[in-house]
Amino acid sequence: MQNEWPLWEVFIRGQHGLSHRHVGSLHAADAEAAIRNARDVYTRRNEGVSIWVVEASAIAASSPDEKGPLYEPSNDKVYRHPTFYDIPDDAGAM
């Protein structure tokens, strides 16, 4: 018998219009309990308007070993990085 509750990853949307951000993880018996626990552990100071929880085992993740093949080829291709534009102040954060 498994005595440990499953691990859940918690995502919270801070304001309308923003996307959910990963804030941490916690243990809970099921999804509903995970949302209640997330409310208590992560949203006591008015941080969120919406909570997502995902069982950690359901997340497919890239391996740190593949860092080279996955990301490095883009580093020497400066044209992929739009750093040559002057952004007008009026445009705000991009």
Partner: protein, 251 residues
């Protein structure tokens, strides 16, 4: 005779104060981190509600006492909380069963108090109700999860229910204070809340595969202050120690 409104406000404030202190006793020693944080949040909610009720009680009394003076400078016989909330924590299941039974009543009572003719009472009830609804939701799910869990968790929850059930009846008692509040439109007659309580509690107990005790025998004397259980005095020695040893200490 004491002002009935003062009595009434002390009952509300003492319920949340004593239960809040009880729940805070779990801080740092709950079975898992997530429950530890949730219990501490619940305790803080209840103490926050206490501050509002007892400050209003002090204002109504007009003798210069605020919430701190009422919480830390009264002795057992002046407390007006239900016997249910002063019962010891027991195991985690017993704590959650006590919370569930209290929350089921608290939500109903606060819902009625939102309509109070006294705007100050209505405002505190409105603020408290959001917290109480969440407490009830959390406690209900825990009672169901543990009741309909393993053989051991089921046995512990049934034992908790059997032990605490005799403290349910007091929540629905009415006396002269209540009748005065009813006459002034400030608060409902607690007796009228029983059907709503049963409608909240019965489905949860069914889902939790727990058997509701048949006897409706009720211990009484908490809300009237006539006869608290021996547990309240021990709780107060902990809670009031600092103000008793060092009166007016601040930091």
């Amino acid at each position: 005779m004491t002002d009935p409104l003062f009595e009434f406000l002390c009952r509300l404030g003492d319920n949340t104060l004593v239960l809040g202190h009880r729940v805070s006793e779990w801080c740092g020693v709950a079975p898992v981190l997530e429950e530890d944080i949730a219990l501490a949040n619940t305790a803080l909610d209840l103490i926050g509600q206490t501050t509002m009720w007892l400050n209003l009680a002090g204002e109504v009394e007009g003798a210069g006492r605020d919430a701190d003076a009422l919480a830390f400078r009264r002795d057992v016989w002046d407390f007006r909380n239900l016997l249910l909330v002063e019962q010891p924590n027991g195991d985690f299941g017993q704590t959650m069963m006590r919370q569930f039974l209290f929350d089921a009543w608290h939500v109903l009572y606060l819902t009625e108090l939102e309509k109070s003719s006294d705007a100050r009472v209505a405002a505190i009830a409105e603020k408290s109700l959001k917290e109480a609804r969440y407490h009830l939701d959390r406690a209900s799910e825990t009672v169901i999860g543990l009741g309909d869990g393993t053989e051991e968790s089921n046995a512990r929850m049934q034992a908790a229910l059997d032990r605490l059930w005799p403290y349910v009846g007091e929540m629905f008692d009415s006396d002269a204070v209540d009748m005065d509040m009813v006459a002034k439109g400030i608060a409902p007659d607690p007796g009228t809340l029983r059907p709503g309580f049963d409608a909240t509690v019965n489905p949860v107990l069914r889902k939790a595969t727990l058997t509701r005790p048949e006897s409706d025998f009720a211990h009484r004397g908490g809300r009237s202050g006539a006869r608290h259980s021996e547990h309240l005095g021990h709780l107060l020695t902990q809670m009031q120690w600092l103000q008793r040893a060092y009166p007016d200490a601040t930091w």
